[in-house]
């Protein structure tokens, strides 16, 4: 058990008592610009987010479909770096009540301060916590390789969230459930991130299988786009993660206030359904 309290664990305890399903929007840090990231987080909280996922853009995002690839490319073109994304979160941390969790590909964490893997990982965890970030999700770091990150986290209360997939056999699900901190990120589809018309047929079964192995919160992401889909997922999971569809809503708006407004409207519609 972590010595210091984990804000993500607390958030889910509160949600559980209130019988509320977590709504977890994803935005790419630095997209459309770095100065928009802080205001977007506040707008999403206002619209009913319980936790917010902030992406750190990477040049080669293997788990992402075209929409998040595009967001990563825009953010990089606008000069987003891991430290700048953390600074954008820090700029609103005192006004934000919900926890923030970062999503980053492994290489960015390993290179964080350029002083070798272990030093970089520790530096990242420290910098993230100082910026008000409570955990990290690393889509290309499977459970058997995540020990270095766990060691860097130590007893700081920072959460290392692991992903489970529909293709994970029971023994992998067990290892993931045991090691994941804060919550378990269940990937709804055999595929990359992106907007999809329907939810995969095996989803309920997959979540139920995982549920038998753990009491930790299970949040479902990848492909959830509409209020109806979010409602369906909310019936089986503790949290609903929405990324690509939100980014697409933002992409279609021009100008600061229009972007904030469309993000808020989009999320409110999901909130009403969840």
């Amino acid at each position: 058990m972590p010595h210091r309290a984990s804000p993500i664990v607390h958030a889910f305890e509160r949600l559980r008592r209130a019988r509320r399903t977590a709504l977890i929007p994803f935005v790419m840090g630095g997209d459309p610009t770095l100065s928009m990231t802080g205001p977007l987080l506040l707008a999403l909280e206002d619209a009913g987010a319980d936790l917010i996922e902030v992406g750190i853009p990477f040049s080669d995002p293997l788990a992402d479909g075209p929409i998040i690839q595009g967001a990563s490319a825009r953010a990089l073109a606008h000069g987003a770096t891991p430290a700048r994304v953390l600074a954008a979160v820090a700029s609103v941390r005192h006004r934000l009540r919900v926890p923030v969790v970062c999503l980053s590909y492994w290489n960015l964490l390993v290179q964080f301060d350029g002083r070798g893997a272990q030093g970089s990982l520790r530096a990242f965890v420290r910098a993230a916590q100082e910026s008000g970030v409570s955990g990290v999700i690393v889509p290309d770091l499977p459970v058997e390789e995540h020990e270095p990150l766990r060691r860097a986290v130590g007893d700081t209360g920072f959460s290392t969230v692991l992903l489970a997939a529909p293709t994970s056999p029971p023994e992998r699900l067990r290892a993931i459930a045991r090691s994941s901190q804060g919550f378990i990120y269940y990937v709804s589809v055999t595929g990359t991130t992106g907007v999809r018309r329907t939810l995969p047929p095996g989803l309920t079964h997959g979540v139920r299988q995982l549920r038998l192995l753990t009491t930790k919160p299970i949040c479902v992401g990848f492909g959830i786009s509409t209020p109806a889909q979010a409602a369906a997922v909310a019936r089986i999971a503790d949290g609903v993660i929405v990324g690509s569809a939100l980014i697409r809503a933002i992409e279609r708006s021009r100008g600061r206030s229009a972007i904030l407004r469309s993000a808020e409207t989009f999320l409110r519609r999901l909130r009403n359904a969840v």
Partner: protein
């Protein structure tokens, strides 16, 4: 590297390098592949089938040819060429795709996907897919489709679907990312036939094992021809499959030096070359911890090389380990010299090499005056130059115009 060390270890690491850094969705498929490969390796029928295909279909063994005129042109060396360029489809890539194709069939996968840079691996995969009667889709950067238009036609003639990749640098790196994304989506029915000793474990191991036939043959052939082992092995390194195929069977022969030649591109300024081992830092790309061309934040840098097959910012983890342990040495040769290397071999031996191994020829020419008299050298001639004729003609006419 101790004598008994098994590479990679059970978790797929070559010292600090290697491992599996991929989305959870494909982790089970990697485990399945590892098990299927372990079982096949023990299965006499699989080995016999692969050996038969390599002989009857691909044209193995390839000659180890004593290049006398080249040797003379370079001074008093004894240069041997391992003629992988004579294989069916024109390069060493077929050694690997036949092996992986057989494995895929054994695992019941009815579809092969592949990334390709120069198009040689794409052609080799499409060929094997046709041979085994399975579906094939090849991902290729738009820029490479332009540079290697002939190979695009070849793949389509063989019945493969060639999917252009327009993201990022539009070359091999992005084609590989897109192939992995497609695999993440189709993993239940599809085998990802990776083309080099890169990617997550078990790929660097199994591609190396399928390519090690190059070095095993070369070792026996040189012993038969010279009654001794060579002093030096030279091969080009992009991802590094032909080089590791040549080097690996010699790794315990302490007196045999090994040099891998990377693409120096236009210049060694960041973004303008593909010399990963010479200029890179440790990092993670496409599922493996190895050396990587990256900026200080860990973003992968664009690369540049006249040869599409070497135009890649990563490198196989076993090479990173050979460099770390000083078992092999890695150097770099730029575009202009590589072109002269191709010309040198064409003029002295009547062999037009692909631009990839032309880098190795060029480095040998540079090194020759510093080698002891009578040194015996084996060069990995990984592919033939037909696919590069257009690129070479463009640079020839540029030269004549100047």
């Amino acid at each position: 590297m101790s004598r008994r060390e098994i590479l990679p270890d059970r978790t797929g690491h070559f010292g600090p390098f290697g491992g599996k850094f991929v989305p959870e969705t494909v982790m089970a498929a990697l485990d399945e592949l590892e098990r299927a490969y372990a079982a096949s390796r023990r299965d006499a029928r699989f080995r016999r089938e692969l050996r038969g295909l390599l002989r009857q279909y691909a044209g193995r063994p390839t000659p180890l040819y004593h290049a006398r005129r080249l040797s003379k042109a370079l001074g008093s060396l004894k240069v041997y060429l391992k003629r992988e360029d004579l294989l069916h489809t024109g390069a060493h890539k077929i050694n690997n795709t036949l092996g992986q194709g057989l494995l895929a069939v054994r695992m019941g996968k009815r579809r092969l996907i592949a990334e390709t840079g120069a198009g040689q691996h794409g052609v080799a995969t499409a060929t094997v897919a046709a041979l085994f009667g399975v579906e094939c889709e090849v991902f290729m950067g738009e820029e490479d489709m332009r540079r290697q238009a002939l190979n695009v036609v070849r793949m389509r003639l063989l019945g493969a679907r060639v999917t252009p990749v327009s993201g990022g640098t539009k070359t091999l790196k992005d084609a590989t990312s897109e192939a992995i994304r497609n695999w993440v989506t189709t993993v239940r029915t599809t085998h990802y036939c990776i083309g080099s000793v890169v990617g997550p474990h078990p790929y660097p191991m199994l591609v190396r094992d399928f390519q090690a036939v190059i070095g095993r043959e070369a070792r026996a052939q040189i012993l038969a021809a010279e009654g001794r082992l060579p002093d030096l092995l030279i091969a080009c390194v992009g991802g590094g499959s032909n080089a590791i195929g040549l080097f690996h069977p010699f790794r315990h022969d302490r007196r045999v030096n090994m040099i891998g030649v990377e693409a120096g591109g236009a210049s060694l300024t960041p973004g303008h070359h593909a010399s990963t081992l010479v200029k890179g830092r440790p990092g993670i790309l496409h599922g493996a911890y190895s050396l990587l061309l990256q900026d200080r934040f860990g973003q992968v840098l664009p690369t540049e090389s006249i040869s599409a097959g070497l135009d890649y910012p990563g490198v196989g983890p076993e090479h990173a380990y050979y460099q770390l342990t000083k078992r092999a040495q890695y150097v770099t040769v730029g575009d202009a010299k590589a072109l002269r290397g191709a010309e040198l071999l064409a003029r002295t031996e009547g062999i037009l090499p692909a631009l990839e191994p032309a880098h190795a020829i060029a480095y040998l020419a540079e090194l020759a005056p510093r080698l002891p008299r009578g040194s015996c050298v084996v060069v990995g001639l990984s592919g033939r130059g037909d696919k590069d004729v257009e690129t070479m003609s463009a640079s020839m006419s540029a030269k004549h115009a100047a």
